[in-house]
Symmetry: C2
Subunit: 229 residues, 2 copies
Amino acid sequence: MSRIDVQQKVLAANSAVAEALRASFRTSGTLVVNVISSPGSGKTTLLEVTARALKSRLRLGGLDGDIATERDAERLRRAGIPARQILTGGACHLDARQVGKALGEEGEGLAGLDVLFIENVGNLICPTSYDLGEDFKVVLLSVAEGDDKPFKYPAIFARAAVTVITKTDLLPHVDFDLSAVREQVAALNPAGRFLVTSARTGEGMESWYALVEEELAAKRARTEMAVAP
Amino acid sequence: MSRIDVQQKVLAANSAVAEALRASFRTSGTLVVNVISSPGSGKTTLLEVTARALKSRLRLGGLDGDIATERDAERLRRAGIPARQILTGGACHLDARQVGKALGEEGEGLAGLDVLFIENVGNLICPTSYDLGEDFKVVLLSVAEGDDKPFKYPAIFARAAVTVITKTDLLPHVDFDLSAVREQVAALNPAGRFLVTSARTGEGMESWYALVEEELAAKRARTEMAVAP
């Protein structure tokens, strides 16, 4: 069996587990968001700020994928929401089996959520191919990373329903052509949403919160239609 | 054959090709540096500035790994050194076979170099395991990425002979504890070198150039000892 055959078999097995997770999230009415970016683009910071802003009106939780350390889940717990770390044992992405296992364990407070944020391993490439049963993927790009990244890593920008530009407070100090990035993402993903944010100044955060709440309401409406007589 | 068996077989095959490349670089006296980081840490910028500074006294060349676009090799050619792009077809790292194939192609001006810089695919995880026949690995970390990264991605910081902190011109605008990062890297890699740089201000660049020239001189001295009667 060649390397590519093994890879296709692994992805097919992952998809089957992801579909079972998706069915379970449909039943529970939980919106699931798979958050992907390079290391250091601000995934945990976005989720910390979101937790503090929305936890009084929504039941939020987090799963944090990493190679090593429990640090990210600790940060989300300090921000006031239940969170669990998944250590991938060196793997460059989360898979659906790991998500199912983490959710199946008792005592984590991750049942009955309105929104589950899955913070993937810091990586723009590997997580792209692994369905985790999410409603949609979000890709983050910090303005410190340079304005050529969507065309250099096209798969994730094409597949993520939402692109979130982060750290715009650094724009005066870096070379980053925001309109060029917007055009690259529009070319790769014409239907995608594009948000421009700074967790530090609060720029764009209300749009992000509104998007999460709209997507949750839309999911709940679809579920009700599906069970209506 | 399990996924792990396939992975071990792939790595063993890669190592055999890498050792053949290493023997060929020993014969040609070419210092080979495998440059690894997240997307947007400043690999291409470091190599552009290095090319402009050293090309008058050293024969330099570049191989640039990416998922998509020829952009990085074009940037190095504009900086005045021969460079070739390797598109990995979606793979999250370069492998030794790709390097050998790119070097074997005619007309690229990549023969008889003093120093070959291999700019790996933007990724802190996958490139760690793939030997490219290099003399040493360099890992870059930009101060915009946060000061928790060595412990979160320990394998590359443990294996890279040199850690280069980049974009220190942004230090006044970000939360980044440089001494904490230095301690993390020292714990993971006590023998490693640690450089603090900004391509924009020039901070630390002379130390980087000196390191490259010292390593080249040391390789040449070892080669001469090996062939002495």
